[in-house]
Amino acid sequence: MTGLGEPLVRKEDPALLSGRGRYADDLPVPNGTLHAHVIRSPHAHAKILRIDATEALALPGVAAVITGEDVRKLTDPFLIALKQPVHQWSLAVERARYVGEAVALVVAESRYVAEDAAELVAIDYEPEEAVIDPIAACGKSAPLLHPACKTNEISVRKFAYGDTTAAFAAADRTVALMVDYPRLSFTPLECYVVLAEYRPHDNSYDVLANFQGPFSTHPVMAKALRVPGAKLRLRIPPDSGGSFGIKLSVFPYIVLTAVAAKVTGRPVKWVEDRAEHLLAASSGPNRITRIEAAVTREGRILGLRLDQLEDYGAFLRAPMPGPLYRMHGAVTGAYDIPNVDVTNRIVLTNKMPASLIRGFGGPQLYLAIERLVQRIAVELGLDHLDVIRRNLIPTEKFPYRTAAGALYDSGDYMRAVATAIADGRLDDLKRRRDAARAAGKPYGIGFAAVVEPGMSNMGYLSTLLTADARARAGPKNGAVSMVTVNIDPLGAVSVTADVTVQGQGHQTVLSQIVADRLGLNPADIEVMLEMDTGKDPWSIAAGTYSCRFSPGTAVAAHVAATRMRDKLAAIAAKQLNILPDDIEFADGQVRSHYNPDNALSFGRIAGTAHWSPAMLPDGMVPGLSETGVWSPPELEPPTSDDRINTSLTYGFIFDMCGAELDPMTYTVRVDRYVSMHDAGILLNPLIADGQIYGAFAQGVAAALYEEFVYDENGSLLSGSFADYLVPTVGEIPKLEILHQQTPSPLTPLGAKGIAEGNCMSTPACIANAVADALGAKDISLPITPLRLHALLAGEEAPVPLGASPPSPSPLAGEGWGGGSRSIGTPVPHSPTPTPDPSPQGGGEQARSA
């Protein structure tokens, strides 16, 4: 039993369960390694006038204090995707642009001494006006982050697919909505760690870091350090404490620590602590979307218009603006909409630079689309589920080419929805809603239909450029996956692959795939995933992100193991005197299919290639090492009219939930949550469900709890885990997972990406449930008690004349009791959402309760 497709328990677990994990900070360091501490800007926007480190350097044990001037001399600014003078080095140069930006690096014999010395470094700042709100940042008089750009809105691109004008002209009416997706980060529990060594004799760097990829960022680091790629050896530790996209953004610190190693002439190690992680590591971009649909009376969507303003913070880091373009081909979501116009805007503000985060553009897009579909139902007086089903892509249209160019490989959306409703007991859910409403409790049912892309087309980002700019720069496309299968002289199989470990069980699944091909037991397959750019084959697509494992690296493993199988079959056929086609691999043996007694052990056959190359069939290359490379042809470059197939596979998720609001504490309780997934063939259902549970918890976090909150001058108000509410077990509702497996026709394993889906669907589904409960139009995330109170209770009456001075506004961070952890999260001074004047159905009754 080879176990491919089986819910095998993970071979990674025994080491991790007994404290034998090998995370970056666990690994030994060379003698004489120094330790670094980053000094960070307390201002959101300020000129750096002077840095005086004399007192710090006098402290025993301090080796160096490195500043922006040093970094500007020794390195180049990081490459970015846009031709705009937005220059970022690994330390602030001349000006700090967000609270927490790295301004100086103290290097000393220990982290303790480095932190002591940091307090002795005198830095003079000249604070400048900061801009935090993305819309204000677009204003003419807004303070400029990068004056040379002459604006903070550094990119506006318009796209038109189909004939949207005609669609809007033909429509019975239009339905519009503005949606604001907040800033948050899926803070991995292990922070950044970098250990860098510089070798002066050949001007090369050797760095260990819990970087996660994509390795398209390796050239960005090498160019910043002014060395060819081969002179920046980057090694990834065997274990990493979660990443969720966040650990792409360790790359500026890899360059900074490398510079420190060069300046001090000794190895330098930096371990990020939680306070600086929350302040300055990375976050997803916040996005304001104006979305409008041209609809018929029956709720059929003829055309869509989206205007997406995405706030990337103080700099545009590589590979931004990924989230704004990753979903571009799939901008019409799960719906059969032939006409769509899109305007993509990038704005910079005095906030932490945004970067990769699980969901990567999906959560922002689907909050807009799925809230709009609910609004279409409300404003046309239709059932929300009917409007969804009326627009879903019909099964017979697959493979379906979207208006913007995505090729949805396979799907059966209607059956998935039908199953979710039946097994999910939608009728029972409606009974619970009606009972709750009868008891005066606001209760709503929400839905969300989401298409989840898997394995990004590395060319999607070039859609950002105009067609002729792309032509000049040369086309970009594709996604390469690489896996090597080796067999040693005793017949033991080992595998290396181009993924970085973050907890997804890749070793287990790779061993299942290779064992399946070679007729062995997964336990016999040794998988080593410590990436080393100096020794492992890698491409710009290497790393673990955008669900590239199942549609990518897994297939490369299948390709490599199949080539190895064919080679062994040829060797065995010669020795067993039969034809290769008659060979079968099973139970650790290589034997004749028709005469199983005519067999040899796997080890024996493998040994032949090592011990007696002369016995090999004519022309066969000796040695048993096969590298499988998989580069699917469907990932084409953007077309001249900007159509782009942004990913290889497209899964489908249909979520349904019931949510009840406590009228006393204004907290949202998810009463039931059902999530139907069609991610093609599941390679390991146990691990696949684990990814769904994890993405769901992060979706709930975005919907109800997590948000980076800045005050108007850019200070971060959610700077510890007591203010930035990562949900505990008490805040995560029970999840009912349903599966449907429509294989992908584009990969031999038929498996699609599965790990980002609920990050995309859950915020929209919960928001829809709350909107249904309240009959409200504008639901901003996270739906904290303060926001619900503002929505329900509306403005307080003005203070009568002659009374005592007005108490602080109810919105200013007033602590709220109630709920296990629902401490009132400070609410930024965004406009108070106004309740919808046209209440619908149960919502009306609830709001008057």
Binding site: L16, L17, G19, G21, L189, R274, Q504, G505, A697, V729
Partner: protein, 164 residues
């Protein structure tokens, strides 16, 4: 009472997982740093250093504590137990660890040691907890990968507790 100046490194000794260990530390050194970088027991992890995430949970005299909120000097002469003590010398996982593997109660494994130590303490005092009691203990820990579902199932299974 021994008086030690702020920068002076003194020798600290305690039993770690049944064996005597000792090393030098300044008074301000955290127990997490002492365990991980002086003794080399890297099974205990550091996730927040302000007592919220629970990754650093160890037992001192059998009671679960946050090692990041404990100074190394405070462990002098005590019995410290960390995740490295749970499996048998030959690597065989104990019942709690096996249940975590069976129910896929871990993914990246960074929060796992702390959770195992909290339940090692708690199950010793309340061997058959209800699901609500298990969730109460688990609410002292953050996990970013699993969504907690597998962890609750694993602890319920190993303690034959009663699900809600």
């Amino acid at each position: 009472m021994r008086r030690v100046s702020k920068d002076e490194r003194s020798r600290i000794g305690f039993t770690l997982n049944g064996r005597a260990v000792s090393g030098e530390a300044e008074p301000r050194m955290l127990l997490t740093d002492f365990l991980r970088h002086v003794i080399g027991a890297t099974g205990t992890h550091v996730g927040c250093e302000h007592g919220v995430c629970g990754c650093c949970t160890v037992l001192i005299d059998g009671v679960a504590v946050r090692a990041c909120l404990t100074l190394a000097v405070q462990a002098e002469g005590r019995a410290v137990t960390t995740v490295e003590a749970l499996a048998a010398p030959d690597g065989t996982l104990n019942a709690l660890q096996q249940a975590f593997q069976k129910y896929h109660a871990l993914q990246c494994g960074f929060c796992t040691p702390g959770i195992l130590m909290s339940f090692t303490d708690y199950l010793a005092r309340n061997p058959h907890p209800t699901e609500d009691e298990i969730r109460e203990v688990l609410s002292g820990h953050l996990c970013r990968c699993t969504g907690y579902a597998g962890i609750v199932a694993a602890v319920l299974a190993v303690s034959c507790g009663s699900p809600n």
